[in-house]
Protein backbone atom coordinates (compact mmCIF):
# COMPACT_ATOMS: atom_id res chain seq x y z
CA UNK A 1 0.00 0.00 0.00
CA UNK A 2 1.16 3.51 -0.81
CA UNK A 3 2.12 5.79 2.03
CA UNK A 4 -0.45 8.57 2.38
CA UNK A 5 1.57 10.68 4.78
CA UNK A 6 5.28 10.46 5.34
CA UNK A 7 6.59 12.62 8.17
CA UNK A 8 10.31 12.69 8.87
CA UNK A 9 12.35 14.50 11.50
CA UNK A 10 9.57 16.95 12.26
CA UNK A 11 10.62 19.46 14.92
CA UNK A 12 9.27 22.66 16.35
CA UNK A 13 10.81 25.31 18.53
CA UNK A 14 8.84 28.18 20.03
CA UNK A 15 11.65 30.59 20.81
CA UNK A 16 13.91 28.56 23.08
CA UNK A 17 11.20 26.07 24.01
CA UNK A 18 11.49 22.77 22.18
CA UNK A 19 7.88 21.70 21.56
CA UNK A 20 8.33 18.78 19.18
CA UNK A 21 11.50 16.78 18.58
CA UNK A 22 12.22 14.67 15.54
CA UNK A 23 8.88 13.03 14.85
CA UNK A 24 8.91 10.24 12.29
CA UNK A 25 5.45 9.02 11.33
CA UNK A 26 4.25 7.07 8.32
CA UNK A 27 0.53 6.78 7.69
CA UNK A 28 -1.09 4.37 5.22
CA UNK A 29 -4.01 5.36 3.04
CA UNK A 30 -7.28 5.01 4.91
CA UNK A 31 -5.62 4.54 8.28
CA UNK A 32 -7.21 6.01 11.40
CA UNK A 33 -4.44 7.31 13.63
CA UNK A 34 -5.01 8.67 17.11
CA UNK A 35 -2.39 10.79 18.86
CA UNK A 36 -2.42 10.83 22.66
CA UNK A 37 -0.19 12.28 25.30
CA UNK A 38 -0.22 14.50 28.38
CA UNK A 39 -0.66 18.24 27.97
CA UNK A 40 2.56 19.81 26.76
CA UNK A 41 3.48 16.83 24.58
CA UNK A 42 3.05 18.88 21.43
CA UNK A 43 0.22 16.79 19.95
CA UNK A 44 -1.79 19.81 18.86
CA UNK A 45 1.35 21.52 17.52
CA UNK A 46 2.08 18.36 15.54
CA UNK A 47 -1.42 18.43 14.02
CA UNK A 48 -1.19 22.14 13.25
CA UNK A 49 2.08 21.59 11.44
CA UNK A 50 0.47 18.90 9.28
CA UNK A 51 -2.39 21.34 8.61
CA UNK A 52 0.07 24.02 7.58
CA UNK A 53 -1.18 26.39 10.27
CA UNK A 54 2.19 26.26 12.04
CA UNK A 55 5.48 26.20 10.15
CA UNK A 56 7.83 23.38 11.17
CA UNK A 57 11.27 24.38 12.41
CA UNK A 58 12.75 21.41 10.59
CA UNK A 59 11.69 18.15 9.00
CA UNK A 60 9.42 17.29 6.10
CA UNK A 61 5.80 16.28 5.62
CA UNK A 62 5.00 14.45 2.41
CA UNK A 63 1.41 13.96 1.29
CA UNK A 64 1.25 11.40 -1.53
CA UNK A 65 4.93 12.02 -2.00
CA UNK A 66 4.63 15.82 -2.39
CA UNK A 67 5.96 18.14 0.32
CA UNK A 68 3.44 20.28 2.24
CA UNK A 69 4.26 23.88 2.98
CA UNK A 70 1.06 25.79 3.83
CA UNK A 71 -2.62 25.09 4.42
CA UNK A 72 -4.60 23.66 1.54
CA UNK A 73 -7.76 21.96 0.41
CA UNK A 74 -6.24 18.48 0.54
CA UNK A 75 -6.50 18.51 4.34
CA UNK A 76 -9.69 19.13 6.31
CA UNK A 77 -9.28 20.45 9.84
CA UNK A 78 -11.87 19.80 12.55
CA UNK A 79 -11.37 22.29 15.36
CA UNK A 80 -11.63 21.72 19.08
CA UNK A 81 -14.03 24.63 19.43
CA UNK A 82 -16.44 24.50 16.54
CA UNK A 83 -15.30 27.84 15.01
CA UNK A 84 -18.59 28.25 13.16
CA UNK A 85 -19.43 31.63 11.64
CA UNK A 86 -22.41 32.81 13.70
CA UNK A 87 -23.92 34.82 10.82
CA UNK A 88 -24.07 31.84 8.50
CA UNK A 89 -26.52 28.98 8.40
CA UNK A 90 -25.45 25.38 8.86
CA UNK A 91 -25.27 24.98 5.08
CA UNK A 92 -23.43 28.29 4.64
CA UNK A 93 -20.87 27.20 7.21
CA UNK A 94 -20.40 23.78 5.65
CA UNK A 95 -19.88 25.39 2.23
CA UNK A 96 -17.05 27.67 3.32
CA UNK A 97 -14.35 25.29 2.03
CA UNK A 98 -15.61 25.04 -1.57
CA UNK A 99 -16.31 28.78 -1.46
CA UNK A 100 -12.73 29.62 -0.49
CA UNK A 101 -11.42 27.24 -3.15
CA UNK A 102 -13.65 28.89 -5.75
CA UNK A 103 -15.39 25.61 -6.52
CA UNK A 104 -18.83 26.47 -5.22
CA UNK A 105 -21.23 25.06 -7.80
CA UNK A 106 -24.41 23.00 -7.87
CA UNK A 107 -22.56 19.73 -7.43
CA UNK A 108 -20.56 21.03 -4.44
CA UNK A 109 -23.82 22.22 -2.93
CA UNK A 110 -25.48 18.86 -3.49
CA UNK A 111 -22.51 16.98 -2.06
CA UNK A 112 -22.53 19.18 1.02
CA UNK A 113 -26.27 18.68 1.50
CA UNK A 114 -25.66 14.92 1.33
CA UNK A 115 -22.83 15.27 3.85
CA UNK A 116 -25.06 17.17 6.25
CA UNK A 117 -27.52 14.29 6.01
CA UNK A 118 -24.69 11.84 6.61
CA UNK A 119 -23.61 13.62 9.81
CA UNK A 120 -27.23 13.63 10.98
CA UNK A 121 -28.14 17.24 10.25
CA UNK A 122 -30.72 16.65 7.52
CA UNK A 123 -33.44 19.26 7.97
CA UNK A 124 -31.15 21.64 9.89
CA UNK A 125 -29.51 23.20 6.81
CA UNK A 126 -31.03 26.63 7.42
CA UNK A 127 -30.50 26.78 11.18
CA UNK A 128 -27.97 29.16 12.67
CA UNK A 129 -25.21 27.96 15.02
CA UNK A 130 -26.83 29.63 18.04
CA UNK A 131 -29.85 27.37 17.57
CA UNK A 132 -27.77 24.18 17.80
CA UNK A 133 -26.45 22.09 20.68
CA UNK A 134 -22.73 21.51 21.19
CA UNK A 135 -22.89 18.06 19.61
CA UNK A 136 -24.72 19.37 16.55
CA UNK A 137 -22.20 22.17 16.14
CA UNK A 138 -19.41 19.62 16.09
CA UNK A 139 -21.29 17.71 13.42
CA UNK A 140 -21.29 20.88 11.30
CA UNK A 141 -17.59 21.28 12.06
CA UNK A 142 -17.01 17.74 10.74
CA UNK A 143 -19.22 18.21 7.68
CA UNK A 144 -17.39 21.46 6.87
CA UNK A 145 -14.05 19.63 6.85
CA UNK A 146 -15.46 16.77 4.75
CA UNK A 147 -17.10 19.14 2.26
CA UNK A 148 -13.78 19.81 0.53
CA UNK A 149 -13.33 16.04 0.13
CA UNK A 150 -9.86 16.16 1.72
CA UNK A 151 -7.22 13.44 1.42
CA UNK A 152 -6.57 13.62 5.14
CA UNK A 153 -8.88 14.57 7.97
CA UNK A 154 -7.15 16.33 10.88
CA UNK A 155 -9.13 16.37 14.11
CA UNK A 156 -7.99 18.38 17.13
CA UNK A 157 -9.79 17.08 20.24
CA UNK A 158 -13.13 17.69 18.56
CA UNK A 159 -15.20 16.13 21.34
CA UNK A 160 -13.30 17.56 24.31
CA UNK A 161 -15.87 20.22 25.11
CA UNK A 162 -18.87 17.88 24.93
CA UNK A 163 -20.46 16.16 27.90
CA UNK A 164 -19.61 12.50 28.46
CA UNK A 165 -22.75 10.98 26.92
CA UNK A 166 -22.70 13.21 23.85
CA UNK A 167 -19.03 12.44 23.42
CA UNK A 168 -19.64 8.68 23.33
CA UNK A 169 -22.43 9.12 20.79
CA UNK A 170 -20.20 11.33 18.65
CA UNK A 171 -17.45 8.70 18.76
CA UNK A 172 -19.74 6.04 17.30
CA UNK A 173 -21.13 8.58 14.84
CA UNK A 174 -17.62 9.45 13.69
CA UNK A 175 -16.86 5.77 13.10
CA UNK A 176 -20.10 5.31 11.19
CA UNK A 177 -19.27 8.30 8.96
CA UNK A 178 -15.66 7.21 8.59
CA UNK A 179 -16.73 3.71 7.45
CA UNK A 180 -18.52 5.39 4.51
CA UNK A 181 -15.37 6.84 2.96
CA UNK A 182 -12.43 5.49 4.96
CA UNK A 183 -10.50 8.71 4.83
CA UNK A 184 -7.06 8.91 6.34
CA UNK A 185 -7.51 10.45 9.79
CA UNK A 186 -5.18 12.01 12.34
CA UNK A 187 -7.16 12.38 15.56
CA UNK A 188 -5.60 14.19 18.51
CA UNK A 189 -7.09 13.52 21.94
CA UNK A 190 -6.07 13.38 25.56
CA UNK A 191 -8.56 10.61 26.25
CA UNK A 192 -6.96 7.21 25.95
CA UNK A 193 -10.24 5.28 25.69
CA UNK A 194 -11.36 7.56 22.87
CA UNK A 195 -8.10 6.91 21.03
CA UNK A 196 -8.31 3.13 21.43
CA UNK A 197 -11.98 3.04 20.48
CA UNK A 198 -11.50 4.99 17.25
CA UNK A 199 -8.07 4.19 15.92
CA UNK A 200 -6.19 1.54 14.00
CA UNK A 201 -3.03 2.83 15.57
CA UNK A 202 -2.32 5.04 18.58
CA UNK A 203 0.76 7.25 18.64
CA UNK A 204 1.78 7.89 22.23
CA UNK A 205 3.75 11.10 22.70
CA UNK A 206 5.99 12.02 25.62
CA UNK A 207 6.36 15.57 26.83
CA UNK A 208 9.07 18.24 27.12
CA UNK A 209 10.04 17.97 24.39
CA UNK A 210 7.20 16.30 22.55
CA UNK A 211 8.48 13.10 20.95
CA UNK A 212 7.17 9.75 19.84
CA UNK A 213 7.23 7.33 22.76
CA UNK A 214 5.30 4.38 21.45
CA UNK A 215 3.34 3.23 18.46
CA UNK A 216 0.47 0.94 19.50
CA UNK A 217 -1.43 -1.05 16.88
CA UNK A 218 -5.05 -1.55 17.96
CA UNK A 219 -6.18 -4.94 16.75
CA UNK A 220 -9.87 -4.74 17.56
CA UNK A 221 -12.44 -5.77 14.95
CA UNK A 222 -14.52 -3.23 13.05
CA UNK A 223 -17.23 -2.07 12.96
CA UNK A 224 -16.93 -1.15 16.60
CA UNK A 225 -19.84 -0.48 18.94
CA UNK A 226 -19.86 1.18 22.34
CA UNK A 227 -20.04 -2.13 24.25
CA UNK A 228 -16.51 -2.76 23.03
CA UNK A 229 -15.38 -0.40 25.76
CA UNK A 230 -16.33 -3.00 28.38
CA UNK A 231 -14.43 -5.88 26.72
CA UNK A 232 -11.22 -7.00 28.48
CA UNK A 233 -9.04 -6.61 25.37
CA UNK A 234 -10.16 -2.97 25.06
CA UNK A 235 -9.48 -2.31 28.71
CA UNK A 236 -6.07 -3.95 28.35
CA UNK A 237 -5.11 -1.54 25.55
CA UNK A 238 -6.24 1.47 27.57
CA UNK A 239 -4.36 0.21 30.59
CA UNK A 240 -1.19 -0.37 28.62
CA UNK A 241 -1.19 3.11 27.12
CA UNK A 242 -2.06 4.70 30.42
CA UNK A 243 0.96 3.06 32.05
CA UNK A 244 3.19 4.45 29.29
CA UNK A 245 2.26 8.02 29.99
CA UNK A 246 1.30 7.88 33.67
CA UNK A 247 4.51 9.40 35.01
CA UNK A 248 4.45 12.08 32.34
CA UNK A 249 0.85 12.99 33.13
CA UNK A 250 1.65 13.27 36.82
CA UNK A 251 4.54 15.63 36.13
CA UNK A 252 2.33 17.66 33.79
CA UNK A 253 -0.41 17.96 36.39
CA UNK A 254 2.01 19.00 39.10
CA UNK A 255 3.76 21.54 36.86
CA UNK A 256 0.55 23.09 35.71
CA UNK A 257 -0.83 23.50 39.21
CA UNK A 258 2.27 25.18 40.56
Amino acid sequence: MARKLEITGLSKWFGDLEAVRGLDVAVERGEFIAVVGPSGCGKTTFLRMVAGLEPATSGTILLDGAPLTGPGGNRGFVFQNDSLLPWRTVLGNALIGPEVAGSLDASARQRTLDLLKLVGLGGFENYHPRQLSGGMRQRVNLARALAIDPDVLLMDEPFASLDAQTREIMQTELLRIWEQGRKTVLFVTHQIDEAVFLADRVLVLARRPGRLQENVKIELPRPRALDLKRKPEFVAYVDRIWRMIEDDVRTAVIEEHV
Partner: protein, 253 residues
Protein backbone atom coordinates in the same frame (compact mmCIF):
# COMPACT_ATOMS: atom_id res chain seq x y z
CA UNK B 1 -48.94 38.12 19.79
CA UNK B 2 -51.38 40.72 21.08
CA UNK B 3 -50.83 39.43 24.59
CA UNK B 4 -47.07 39.84 24.25
CA UNK B 5 -47.47 43.31 22.79
CA UNK B 6 -49.59 44.27 25.75
CA UNK B 7 -47.07 42.90 28.21
CA UNK B 8 -44.18 44.69 26.52
CA UNK B 9 -45.78 48.06 26.04
CA UNK B 10 -48.42 48.33 28.75
CA UNK B 11 -46.20 49.81 31.46
CA UNK B 12 -44.49 52.19 29.04
CA UNK B 13 -47.74 53.44 27.53
CA UNK B 14 -49.34 53.92 30.92
CA UNK B 15 -46.39 55.91 32.24
CA UNK B 16 -46.27 58.17 29.16
CA UNK B 17 -50.02 58.80 29.17
CA UNK B 18 -49.97 59.41 32.92
CA UNK B 19 -47.03 61.78 32.61
CA UNK B 20 -48.72 63.78 29.85
CA UNK B 21 -51.91 63.98 31.87
CA UNK B 22 -50.05 65.25 34.92
CA UNK B 23 -48.18 67.79 32.76
CA UNK B 24 -51.47 69.01 31.27
CA UNK B 25 -53.06 69.41 34.71
CA UNK B 26 -50.07 71.14 36.27
CA UNK B 27 -49.69 73.64 33.44
CA UNK B 28 -53.40 74.36 33.11
CA UNK B 29 -54.41 74.48 36.77
CA UNK B 30 -51.35 75.21 38.86
CA UNK B 31 -49.04 77.34 36.71
CA UNK B 32 -51.78 78.54 34.36
CA UNK B 33 -49.37 80.70 32.37
CA UNK B 34 -48.08 79.44 29.02
CA UNK B 35 -45.11 81.77 29.33
CA UNK B 36 -43.58 79.41 31.88
CA UNK B 37 -44.99 76.04 30.89
CA UNK B 38 -47.01 75.08 27.84
CA UNK B 39 -49.52 72.26 28.20
CA UNK B 40 -49.23 69.24 25.88
CA UNK B 41 -52.45 70.21 24.12
CA UNK B 42 -51.10 73.71 23.49
CA UNK B 43 -47.93 72.21 22.05
CA UNK B 44 -49.91 69.94 19.73
CA UNK B 45 -51.90 72.98 18.60
CA UNK B 46 -48.66 74.84 17.92
CA UNK B 47 -47.26 71.93 15.90
CA UNK B 48 -50.50 71.84 13.92
CA UNK B 49 -50.55 75.58 13.32
CA UNK B 50 -46.91 75.65 12.24
CA UNK B 51 -47.53 72.72 9.91
CA UNK B 52 -50.49 74.49 8.26
CA UNK B 53 -48.46 77.57 7.40
CA UNK B 54 -45.61 75.45 6.02
CA UNK B 55 -43.32 76.95 8.65
CA UNK B 56 -42.70 73.62 10.36
CA UNK B 57 -41.77 71.93 7.08
CA UNK B 58 -39.29 74.67 6.26
CA UNK B 59 -37.48 74.21 9.57
CA UNK B 60 -37.64 70.42 9.55
CA UNK B 61 -36.38 70.10 5.97
CA UNK B 62 -33.39 72.36 6.56
CA UNK B 63 -32.40 70.51 9.73
CA UNK B 64 -32.95 67.18 8.01
CA UNK B 65 -30.70 68.12 5.10
CA UNK B 66 -27.97 69.35 7.44
CA UNK B 67 -28.20 66.20 9.51
CA UNK B 68 -28.32 63.83 6.54
CA UNK B 69 -25.37 65.44 4.75
CA UNK B 70 -23.20 65.53 7.85
CA UNK B 71 -24.21 62.05 8.93
CA UNK B 72 -23.53 60.40 5.58
CA UNK B 73 -20.20 62.19 5.08
CA UNK B 74 -19.09 61.35 8.62
CA UNK B 75 -20.16 57.70 8.25
CA UNK B 76 -18.25 57.22 5.02
CA UNK B 77 -15.10 58.92 6.33
CA UNK B 78 -15.43 57.25 9.74
CA UNK B 79 -15.75 53.75 8.31
CA UNK B 80 -12.85 54.43 5.92
CA UNK B 81 -10.67 55.71 8.79
CA UNK B 82 -11.63 52.70 10.90
CA UNK B 83 -10.64 50.33 8.09
CA UNK B 84 -7.38 52.19 7.60
CA UNK B 85 -6.55 52.09 11.28
CA UNK B 86 -7.34 48.38 11.55
CA UNK B 87 -5.17 47.56 8.56
CA UNK B 88 -2.17 49.80 9.12
CA UNK B 89 -0.46 50.28 12.45
CA UNK B 90 1.27 53.40 11.14
CA UNK B 91 -2.01 54.99 10.06
CA UNK B 92 -3.49 54.21 13.45
CA UNK B 93 -0.52 55.72 15.28
CA UNK B 94 -0.84 58.86 13.17
CA UNK B 95 -4.57 59.23 13.70
CA UNK B 96 -4.96 58.07 17.28
CA UNK B 97 -3.89 61.29 19.08
CA UNK B 98 -6.30 63.36 16.98
CA UNK B 99 -9.16 60.99 17.63
CA UNK B 100 -8.51 60.71 21.34
CA UNK B 101 -8.17 64.47 21.61
CA UNK B 102 -11.15 65.48 19.53
CA UNK B 103 -13.49 62.75 20.79
CA UNK B 104 -13.09 63.97 24.34
CA UNK B 105 -13.38 67.67 23.41
CA UNK B 106 -16.87 69.17 23.31
CA UNK B 107 -16.44 70.04 19.64
CA UNK B 108 -19.88 71.59 19.68
CA UNK B 109 -18.21 74.60 21.28
CA UNK B 110 -16.46 75.10 17.95
CA UNK B 111 -19.80 75.78 16.24
CA UNK B 112 -19.44 79.61 16.43
CA UNK B 113 -16.04 79.27 14.78
CA UNK B 114 -17.46 77.14 11.97
CA UNK B 115 -20.23 79.70 11.45
CA UNK B 116 -17.59 82.39 11.22
CA UNK B 117 -15.75 80.38 8.58
CA UNK B 118 -18.61 78.94 6.59
CA UNK B 119 -21.42 81.44 7.19
CA UNK B 120 -24.84 80.87 8.71
CA UNK B 121 -25.99 78.57 5.89
CA UNK B 122 -26.19 74.81 6.12
CA UNK B 123 -22.48 73.98 5.72
CA UNK B 124 -21.41 75.21 9.13
CA UNK B 125 -24.00 72.85 10.66
CA UNK B 126 -22.94 70.00 8.40
CA UNK B 127 -19.40 70.44 9.66
CA UNK B 128 -20.54 70.32 13.30
CA UNK B 129 -22.46 67.11 12.61
CA UNK B 130 -19.43 65.59 10.90
CA UNK B 131 -17.26 66.38 13.90
CA UNK B 132 -19.74 64.81 16.30
CA UNK B 133 -20.56 61.68 14.29
CA UNK B 134 -17.13 60.91 12.88
CA UNK B 135 -15.42 59.74 16.06
CA UNK B 136 -17.82 57.14 17.42
CA UNK B 137 -18.05 55.62 13.92
CA UNK B 138 -14.26 55.55 13.45
CA UNK B 139 -13.58 54.15 16.90
CA UNK B 140 -16.23 51.44 16.65
CA UNK B 141 -15.24 50.37 13.14
CA UNK B 142 -11.63 50.04 14.17
CA UNK B 143 -12.51 48.17 17.36
CA UNK B 144 -14.86 45.84 15.49
CA UNK B 145 -12.25 44.91 12.91
CA UNK B 146 -9.54 44.55 15.52
CA UNK B 147 -11.51 42.20 17.76
CA UNK B 148 -12.23 39.63 15.05
CA UNK B 149 -11.93 36.21 16.63
CA UNK B 150 -8.51 34.65 15.95
CA UNK B 151 -10.17 31.25 15.95
CA UNK B 152 -12.44 32.15 13.06
CA UNK B 153 -9.55 33.63 11.09
CA UNK B 154 -7.54 30.48 11.66
CA UNK B 155 -10.48 28.32 10.60
CA UNK B 156 -10.64 30.14 7.30
CA UNK B 157 -6.88 30.01 6.93
CA UNK B 158 -6.96 26.22 7.32
CA UNK B 159 -8.98 26.09 4.10
CA UNK B 160 -6.24 28.04 2.34
CA UNK B 161 -8.09 31.37 2.34
CA UNK B 162 -6.33 34.51 1.11
CA UNK B 163 -6.06 37.69 3.22
CA UNK B 164 -8.78 39.21 1.05
CA UNK B 165 -11.13 36.28 1.63
CA UNK B 166 -10.46 36.45 5.36
CA UNK B 167 -11.34 40.13 5.35
CA UNK B 168 -14.62 39.76 3.47
CA UNK B 169 -15.80 36.47 4.92
CA UNK B 170 -14.79 36.95 8.57
CA UNK B 171 -13.46 40.37 9.59
CA UNK B 172 -16.11 42.46 7.90
CA UNK B 173 -19.21 40.53 9.02
CA UNK B 174 -17.89 40.21 12.55
CA UNK B 175 -17.20 43.98 12.68
CA UNK B 176 -20.66 44.84 11.36
CA UNK B 177 -22.43 44.90 14.76
CA UNK B 178 -19.75 47.29 16.06
CA UNK B 179 -20.02 49.56 13.02
CA UNK B 180 -23.80 49.69 13.40
CA UNK B 181 -23.47 50.50 17.09
CA UNK B 182 -21.18 53.40 16.18
CA UNK B 183 -23.65 54.65 13.59
CA UNK B 184 -26.45 54.40 16.15
CA UNK B 185 -24.48 56.48 18.65
CA UNK B 186 -23.96 59.01 15.87
CA UNK B 187 -27.70 59.64 15.46
CA UNK B 188 -28.16 61.25 18.87
CA UNK B 189 -24.90 63.16 18.68
CA UNK B 190 -25.67 64.39 15.17
CA UNK B 191 -29.12 65.67 16.14
CA UNK B 192 -27.69 67.58 19.09
CA UNK B 193 -25.04 69.01 16.76
CA UNK B 194 -27.57 70.29 14.24
CA UNK B 195 -29.76 72.01 16.78
CA UNK B 196 -27.03 73.54 18.90
CA UNK B 197 -25.22 74.83 15.82
CA UNK B 198 -28.46 76.37 14.59
CA UNK B 199 -28.93 78.06 17.95
CA UNK B 200 -25.62 79.85 17.41
CA UNK B 201 -26.75 81.32 14.11
CA UNK B 202 -28.97 80.24 11.24
CA UNK B 203 -31.77 81.32 8.95
CA UNK B 204 -33.92 78.22 9.36
CA UNK B 205 -34.00 74.86 11.09
CA UNK B 206 -35.44 73.43 14.25
CA UNK B 207 -32.76 75.12 16.34
CA UNK B 208 -33.73 78.40 14.72
CA UNK B 209 -37.40 77.73 15.48
CA UNK B 210 -36.53 77.06 19.10
CA UNK B 211 -34.38 80.16 19.52
CA UNK B 212 -36.81 82.53 17.79
CA UNK B 213 -39.69 81.16 19.88
CA UNK B 214 -37.63 81.69 23.01
CA UNK B 215 -36.89 85.29 21.95
CA UNK B 216 -40.58 85.99 21.54
CA UNK B 217 -41.55 84.05 24.66
CA UNK B 218 -43.69 81.69 22.61
CA UNK B 219 -43.44 78.57 24.76
CA UNK B 220 -45.84 76.35 22.78
CA UNK B 221 -43.76 76.86 19.62
CA UNK B 222 -40.52 76.32 21.50
CA UNK B 223 -41.83 73.03 22.84
CA UNK B 224 -43.15 72.18 19.37
CA UNK B 225 -39.58 72.32 18.05
CA UNK B 226 -38.30 70.19 20.92
CA UNK B 227 -41.06 67.61 20.50
CA UNK B 228 -40.46 67.24 16.76
CA UNK B 229 -36.76 66.70 17.50
CA UNK B 230 -37.49 64.13 20.16
CA UNK B 231 -39.84 62.24 17.85
CA UNK B 232 -37.25 62.30 15.06
CA UNK B 233 -34.59 60.97 17.42
CA UNK B 234 -36.81 58.19 18.73
CA UNK B 235 -37.98 57.22 15.24
CA UNK B 236 -34.46 57.08 13.82
CA UNK B 237 -33.09 55.08 16.71
CA UNK B 238 -36.00 52.65 16.54
CA UNK B 239 -35.59 52.35 12.77
CA UNK B 240 -31.94 51.62 13.36
CA UNK B 241 -32.82 48.92 15.85
CA UNK B 242 -34.92 47.30 13.16
CA UNK B 243 -32.05 47.48 10.65
CA UNK B 244 -29.73 45.88 13.21
CA UNK B 245 -32.17 43.05 13.77
CA UNK B 246 -32.25 42.40 10.02
CA UNK B 247 -28.53 42.78 9.35
CA UNK B 248 -26.92 41.25 12.42
CA UNK B 249 -29.49 38.86 13.92
CA UNK B 250 -26.77 36.71 15.49
CA UNK B 251 -25.93 39.39 18.06
CA UNK B 252 -29.28 38.97 19.81
CA UNK B 253 -29.52 36.80 22.95
Amino acid sequence: MLERLRQNYLAGTLSVVGGLLLWELVSRLIIANPLFLAAPTQIIEAVYALSLTGEMWRHVSISAIEFALGYVIASVIGIAFGFGMANSARFKQALQPWISGLYATPTIALAPLFILWLGIGIWSKVLVVIFLVLFPVTINTEAGLRTTSERLIEMLRSFGATERQIFFKVSLPSALPFILAGLKLGIGRGLIGVVVAELFGSRAGLGRLISQSADSFNMPELFAGVIVLAVAGIAMTAGFGWVEKKLVPWTRD
